[in-house]
Symmetry: C2
Subunit: 194 residues, 2 copies
């Protein structure tokens, strides 16, 4: 399954979920925040994910049940940071245009309660959660190829990635996605998004 | 003059205008879009500007009356691209929070008329105008150290950088800044911002 491919065969036990260029707008306008996403789902659950950023040379590899591996010419390692309160959280979101109207009103409640929001980022923002530099990402209207590879990366770094109700993401999810570096943020954010 | 320094002596013929880290929020959250800005003004007019992005290794050097020089491990050269109509323009802006309320309403008119807006970027977005990847940046509430270094970079690549009225930026400007890669965009954008 992929943005450029559609779904070739969705009935196997394993499903590759690919996005050759996540962040098309960032790519087209020259920002090094786009990435190549390679995800693998097993019976509908993401079990492997790779984020590759070719300009900075950074790569995140997440495997279900293992610690996320991060390689970069600048060093560093994957590990989410503690952040139990939204009032101290760095929030990230690609664009206000990523929400439908109802979604935007719900996102605004989270934004106002957060310490700060940084706009832009696409898949890179989720990589930053896995590096302990961003505490939460809230986005809407995502497709499986936008998020499947991100789940093992975030969760293998100690974070959580769910829908806006706090439920696991599945191929049937609406595309409302929430990533947190500290699971303690989940109840506060899902209550504001409800 | 600088964000961290205040103004040491504003009455000389030449004035250095420095911002060690433009894009503090991008820097703090790990996005390679911040930059070190070094600007020099002569009798209130920007005559030299440097944008340095240490993660990607990109550097833009603009000198009044000369072609902007760009160095990068990935190659490339500075040259704005033609884009005579806002309807086909890639617009960029760091954040909706960069405007005051009246400024936001005026910006919205430009955003709706543009082909697309990409959020985030700080000084890097102006570098992208100079590379012909972005066509316009519209921002408010900037300080001289946010824009002084950018003017020679943009203009040496064939673009224009003005206030929202299309007038040259000076130390007395309100901080409402407009950069375009193609001067033909100026009348359309300043009319929408008026």
């Amino acid at each position: 399954m992929g943005e450029e491919y559609g779904t070739e065969s969705g009935d196997g036990e394993y499903l590759w979920v690919l996005d050759p260029i996540d962040g098309t707008r960032a790519f087209l306008t020259g920002r090094p925040l786009f990435g190549t996403l390679i995800g693998l789902m097993h019976r509908g659950k993401p079990v492997l994910g790779i984020i590759d950023q070719p300009v900075t040379g950074e790569r995140w590899i997440g495997v279900s049940g293992e610690a996320t591996r991060f390689t970069s010419p600048m060093g560093g390692m994957a590990a989410c940071r503690p952040c139990p309160s939204l009032a101290t959280a760095e929030l990230s979101c690609t664009s206000p245009e990523i929400f439908d109207e109802a979604g935007m009103a719900r996102f605004e409640r989270v934004r106002k309660a957060a310490r700060r929001v940084t706009w832009g980022g696409d898949c890179y923002a989720y990589g930053l959660v896995a590096l302990g530099l961003v505490d939460a990402v809230v986005e809407g209207t995502l497709k499986p190829w936008d998020w499947a590879a991100l789940v093992p990366v975030i969760e293998g770094a100690g974070g959580r990635m769910t829908d806006w109700l706090g439920q696991p993401l599945t191929l049937e999810s609406k595309g409302e996605v929430l990533a947190v570096g500290d699971a303690a943020l989940l109840p506060e954010i899902t209550a504001l998004l409800a």
